[in-house]
Symmetry: C2
Subunit: 211 residues, 2 copies
């Protein structure tokens, strides 16, 4: 019980303040235990940080499981299925980014994206790498684009959803609100879906220009 409670708090604290900014005393206190419990269960601050990364990867993998499990087995010729798959993965991703729970761990990930440490390996291997690779593969199947083009397109597609977190405050200002309502989220998701179809169509058209 204590270990899992420590981990929950650790994710929040590390996310908000970073590895150096968060304090083991603060984490332990918030978890209602003593600091030395961290040493015992995780071997120290660094160990707790890595455990937090693993837990985040597991959380994302869990959230994305349904979608990715189906999408991963779509075969080469199924352009329609691949297209639907791209949209479904992005919708799932948008929900994840907009979810309140992601507020805690998203900063953890973004920090690792910009200044990767060993923890990035865990995040990438555990969840994010597979997700992005699947998406790139689906884009390739849906449009017939070469691998490199499909990869670049996949990143721009994902960027639309990550903006919900990484540009959140700016977004809220623009919409003149202070929380994202279900209505807002639906509107954004509809926009992303429409954009995605437009982009995929464009990739197909580009391919036919250069035979």
């Amino acid at each position: 019980m204590t270990p899992s409670r420590l981990l929950d708090i650790a994710i929040r604290e590390f996310g908000a303040k970073g590895l150096e900014g968060a304090s083991t005393r603060g984490i332990a206190a918030a978890a209602g235990t003593a600091m030395s419990a961290i040493t015992y269960h995780y071997g120290g601050k660094e160990g707790l940080y890595l455990a937090a990364a693993d837990r985040i990867a597991a959380l994302i993998a869990e959230r994305m499981r349904d979608g990715l499990a189906i999408e991963a087995v779509i075969d080469e010729g199924d352009t329609g299925g691949a297209r639907d798959g791209v949209v479904r993965v992005l919708m799932q991703l948008a929900d994840t980014m907009a979810s309140v729970e992601s507020e805690e761990w998203a900063p953890f990930i973004v920090r690792e994206q910009m200044h990767p440490t060993v923890a990035f390996e865990r995040l990438h291997a555990g969840a994010m790498g597979t997700m992005l690779a699947t998406l790139a593969r689906l884009v390739g199947i849906a449009t017939g684009a070469r691998s490199r083009i499909a990869c670049i397109a996949a990143i721009t597609l994902v960027g639309q959803t990550t903006a919900l977190r990484a540009s959140r405050a700016m977004f809220l200002r623009l919409l003149e609100t202070d929380t994202l309502t279900d209505d807002d989220l639906d509107a954004v998701k509809a926009r992303i879906a429409a954009n995605t179809h437009a982009i995929l169509d464009r990739l197909i058209a580009e391919r036919q220009d250069l035979p």
Copy 2:
């Protein structure tokens, strides 16, 4: 001289470690001076943090100046000019996100986006708010979309470029490289430009569906 050197280091340190993670001693040492210089010039750690935010806003405003100055005066009827403007602003933004200098201050901004403090006001007022508002306005002019739709579209468009920073490590993994070459950047920019045209076309088509 000392103040400006302190500020440069402060942006890097606060970006990497956050307000709480960075240490005044560390910043002062890296700037080759004593910690009390921070107290003298900026009144303390918090003052230095806010000064860093102002400086970052100024850096971005400077980088975006050419584009935004022109784009801001495009008038209501000029759909073609507005469309070109959208693409130009996004290209400038992509260059900014990919630039090595942005590696230092981008984490600062993203942190403020997810957990805004007073410093976010400065960033938003000084640069980011104007940029995004201009973009949303141009999207509206270029497509005739309602304000709310144009705002949401603007966010998704910007998201494509911010992914260059906020999902950087993941992106590099996918492309199986460890730095973004000029070739890579050109390819991404071309993709973003093409996506943007596709998205704007789609917005126009949607408008004609519902007259």
